[in-house]
Structures are given as C-alpha cells and as structure tokens.
C-alpha cells in the first residue's frame, strides 16, 4: 500500500484522468480517446448482470484492442448513421475510488457515471458502474481495462452507439 499522502496524490491524478476521458467521450474526440488505451486494452460492457463470463456469453461490447480501433474507425467514417448526426452527450462521473493499488503495477479504480444522451430518437439517461485498470506508460496514465456495467443491462435497451 502507498502512504496516505501518495494515495491522495494518486487519487487526484486518477480523477483528472477519468474526467478527461469523460470529456473526450462526450465531445466525440474519438482518436484522442483511443490514444488513452494501452496496446493490450480490453473494453467490456456486459449484458445480463455484472459477473457473466464474456468468453462464453453475449456482452454488449467485448472489444480487444484491435476491435476498439475498428469501433473508432467506423465512427470516423461519418457514415455510421446511428452517430450521424452525433448524439449530444454530457456525463457526470463520481464515487471515484482506488480499489487496488500496488506499486509498479496496474491500479484498479472504480467510479459511477450518469450520462444524458440526446439523439434523433429521444433523450435517454444511462447509468453505470465503471471499473478500470490504469497503467502508467511513458509518464501518462493509460487504460488497460474498462468495464462498464449498465444498471439496466438485463433489460432491453436502446442503441448504445456513442462511447460509453
């Protein structure tokens, strides 16, 4: 464990990182968001609960690094009609906690988020628990893992085509 002082410094740095990620997502800065990932990043949005086995059961998103890149490239075409025009988005991120911090390794971080989406269809509110593994790479924080557990992921949900 880190000392209380360094833990508080770390929490500040992590919070700044999560806020930045949220802003890049809300503002559809796809490439800048993609650059936040490590080379082995995994982006996971499970369906039907929080503890399914994504290797056996359907998830809403279960992207390895190359599929994250494909997702971003599709958004960049301007012809991904579900995001043309883009959803207007603002999200609040809170309840940020350092869940597991081992010196020199990835740190596990948790947060909650609430997202307001305004699209051609309607206005939609999304709520989620987020779990990250963050890694320090070349002096910058990077995401090695992000799991987004939507509160209503066991129900029928509308198209979720922005970066959640």
């Amino acid at each position: 464990m880190l000392s209380r002082e360094s833990s508080s410094t770390l929490l500040g740095a992590v919070t700044a990182f999560l806020y930045k990620e949220a802003r890049l997502q809300d503002e559809h800065q796809y490439e800048a968001w993609e650059a936040l990932w490590t080379d082995d990043g995994v982006y996971w949005v499970p369906a039907n609960g929080a503890d399914i086995d994504p290797e056996r059961e359907m998830s809403i998103i279960y992207d390895n690094r190359s599929r994250i890149a494909l997702r971003v490239r599709q958004l960049m075409t301007g012809k991904h009609f579900t995001q043309t025009p883009q959803s207007r988005l603002r999200r609040l991120v809170s309840n940020i906690e350092l869940l597991d911090q081992q010196a020199g390794g990835d740190i596990a971080v948790g947060s909650n988020s609430m997202i307001f989406e305004s699209s051609l269809r309607d206005d939609t509110i999304w709520a989620a628990r987020n779990e990250y593994r963050l890694r320090h790479v070349d002096g910058e924080w990077r995401m090695a893992y992000k799991k987004v557990t939507l509160v209503n992921n066991d129900k029928a949900i509308y198209t979720l085509s922005f970066l959640v």
Binding site: R56, M58, Q74, G78, K79, H80, T159, L160
Partner: protein
C-alpha cells in the same frame, strides 16, 4: 385510420407493389395484428437447449405477453402464461432457473411447472373447488422443429410443419453446420429495443438492397467481403418461400468461391478441430459441400430470423416499440467454431453492434418518416418485372430485389383477412 379495417378493406392498404404507411403506425392495426398474427399463427418462443434439464425454465414472450418455457419432470416442454389464475399476479420474476413449481407471492398459490395448481393458502376457504379449473394459462399448442419451440394460441389450424412449409429446409440446412446435427442456444441474449414498428425489422431481415449503404461504414473499415454479396454484380438471390417466410440465398456466391468456410470469412486450416469433426460426421465430400454453402439467411414469419451466424427473435410490444432478442448460434460438437461465432456476433449485433446499431437507426427513422402522410405509400416494386420462379417453384429475384417484402405482405394480407 383509427378503426380496424374490415376484412374486405385490407386490399386497399396492401397492393402487389406497395403498402399503405398506416400499416406501420396505426394502433388499431397493431391490435388487429396481435389477434390475427401473434395470437393465432405459430410464433417462435425458445429453443429446447435453453431448458436442458428437468425443471429448468426460461422466461420468453409472445408479443407483449410473458411466457414461461419450462421442462417438466417428464421432460416435456410447456409454454405457460406468467399470470396467476387467482388475481393475475406474475408468478415468475426471474429470467431463468430451475424450479419444480412457481409460488405466487400475492396469496401463495402454487403451480407445478406443467401448469397444474397444486395448492393455495388456507384451502378451507375453497371448499369443493375443482383445482383443475384454476390451472395456469398456457399456449394452446406447442410443437418444436429440430429443437426450435413454437407456440400457437389457436386450438386448430395448420400444424407447425405445415406452417413452416418449405422454410423447414433452411432449418435442416442450419443444423447440418453441427457435426452432431444440433443447434444450441447457450450464449445468452442481447436485448435491443427500438422505437419502431416490428414490421420494419421483419422486412429488413431479407432486404438485400440496404447493406451497401447502411453498412458501408463498417464494410469499408473492416475490409469485409460481405459488401460484394449485396452488390449489383452479385449472383445471390432473394426468395419467397410462401407463408411469409423469406430468404437471401448466398450459396451461388459461396459456390463460386468454392472455398470451405469462406462463408464465415475463415478457412478450414483455422478450424482444424471443426473440420475434422465435420469430415468424420458427414464424409469429406458432403462436409465440404456443407462448409462451402454455409448457414442460411432466412426469416421465418413472423419472428424468427436465422442470420447465418446469429439468431434474432422479434418481439412487438406496441405499435412503435419493439425488441430484437439476439444471440450467437452455437453448434453442438463445434467448440472452436462456436468461439468465433460468439466473437463475431458480439461485434456485429445488439445495441452497440457495428451492423445493428445502424439497422436500428433506419427502423426508427423509417417509423418517424411514415408519420408524414404524403406520399401515403411505401413502394416495394423493386425487381417486380424481373421476378422469376426457381426450379422448386419459389419466386426469386436479384439479391437487391424486394421479392421478400412482397412475399411477406402477401401472407400478411391473407392472415389479416382471415376470420
């Protein structure tokens, strides 16, 4: 129109090459569809492999109604309505599980998983009551074909086999993708809601005209070979099997390629275990044919869409509210193929799918579009003049032609006019 059309009036809304926009948006027509289609004809409910053991259950639906599919102690599959025979409370609140009985939380009435009422609280208040008159409601007829369980609320009418008609053959073709001849539905469902009428989904499933445009964003960046299948030079076909069942037959293109597993964008070298099992099960010549032809792309009216690597179940909730339940097809005895099927399915479909997010966007924009009342009609005339009959007597057209939509509406009109 806010009044349900009389039988004689459906012909004014449904012509051979066009249908009236109100068919998608009129709540009275939606109510009429529930009565004449969803609560009468055979509707796909679930798959036997979802309740493999005695007392397994899974909650499914027919239209807006919640249906519990159970396997009872005798091994029979039952389709029970999720409604207590006492005061109407839902007796089952979990999506799946294993239970010999369901106890209603309201007054503790208990039903066996075959629907029998086995007990109620304080029975002395029901002196002389015949419990057999207070069973759970059930879907009147239940039949399955190759593991696919269908239900019909009509006591009489065509058998499931008669309902499937020629569209049974694509299901036969599908199960042969498994070296053991069986499909398994074991990967869980994504549930994708759209604010659109269910028929926009139904008609799009075998619409080969849209992929080149709606899906150009993913075909371009994924370097996909799928786009060519739906191009102007494609030899793939659209087919109307009758009975509202339709198909996009991609086999002519896959046979031209003549490469096993090319239909799935892979090779036998990458699936050595699967290839060996297929060769052992069917012999090398037949296995090769199966692995060249691939799985079907067939829409079983009104709600089961077998989309090569995944299965969709269309559920209408209201005139402008529908759910697509989708999962990866899994083939018994094919673990290495199944893994890839799950990965591909997760990328393609569901609320965040590379393909279905855009399809669903079209459904919703079409629904809002047809609320405008001029022109009144949806034009479905593409390829009507070049439609032909194949060697088995089915109407076929170019892959981009609207043969399937015309076939769906021909059958729809027959069902709606029936009394």
């Amino acid at each position: 129109m806010n009044v349900m059309p009389r039988a004689s009036q459906w012909g004014e809304l449904i012509r051979s090459d066009r249908v009236h926009g109100s068919l998608y948006t009129d709540p009275a027509i939606f109510e009429a569809e529930l009565q004449n289609i969803w609560y009468r004809t055979w509707v796909y409910v679930g798959h036997e492999s979802e309740v493999p053991k005695a007392n397994d259950y899974v909650v499914k639906s027919i239209g807006p109604q919640s249906v519990i599919m159970t396997r009872d102690e005798q091994g029979r599959v039952n389709l029970l309505l999720n409604r207590c025979s006492h005061r109407g409370n839902q007796v089952c609140s979990y999506e799946r599980g294993n239970a010999r009985s369901f106890t209603c939380p309201f007054h503790s009435w208990t039903f066996a998983n075959d629907g029998r009422l086995v007990g109620y609280a304080f029975p002395d208040g029901y002196e002389g009551q015949d419990k057999s008159l207070l069973v759970l409601g059930r879907v009147t007829r239940v039949e399955s074909y190759r593991g696919f369980v269908f239900g019909s609320f009509a006591a009489e009418g065509p058998t499931l086999r008669e309902h499937l008609g020629a569209a049974a053959e694509p299901i036969d073709r599908l199960v042969r993708t498994s070296p053991e001849g069986e499909v398994e539905i074991t990967a869980g469902f994504l549930k994708h809601r759209v604010k659109a009428n269910w028929k926009f989904i139904l008609e799009n499933e075998c619409d080969g005209y849209h992929p080149a445009f709606v899906h150009s964003s993913i075909f371009g960046v994924a370097d996909s070979a799928i786009g060519k299948l739906y191009g102007g030079a494609s030899t793939a076909l659209t087919r109307d099997y009758g009975g509202g069942h339709t198909e996009i037959d991609l086999r002519p293109e896959f046979r031209k390629r003549d490469v096993p597993m090319s239909w799935f964008g892979t090779t036998t070298e990458r699936l050595p275990d699967y290839t060996a099992r297929m060769n052992a099960a069917y012999g090398e010549r037949e296995a090769r044919e199966i692995m060249i032809d691939g799985t079907p792309h067939v829409m079983i009216f009104p709600n089961l869409f077998i989309a090569e690597i995944q299965m969709f179940v269309i559920q209408p909730l209201a005139v402008d509210d529908s759910v697509q339940h989708v999962t990866a097809l899994q083939f018994k005895g094919a673990p290495d193929l199944n893994r890839r099927l799950r990965q591909q399915t997760m990328g393609s479909v569901g609320p965040a799918g590379f393909l279905l997010a855009d399809d669903s966007e079209m459904y919703e924009r079409c629904h809002r579009g047809v609320l405008a009342r001029n022109p009144e009609w949806i034009f479905l005339g593409r390829g009507e003049k070049r439609e032909r009959t194949d060697e088995l007597g089915f109407k076929v057209g170019h892959v981009t032609d609207e043969v399937p939509s015309r076939g769906i509406w021909r059958h729809y009109r027959k069902l709606m006019e029936a009394r």
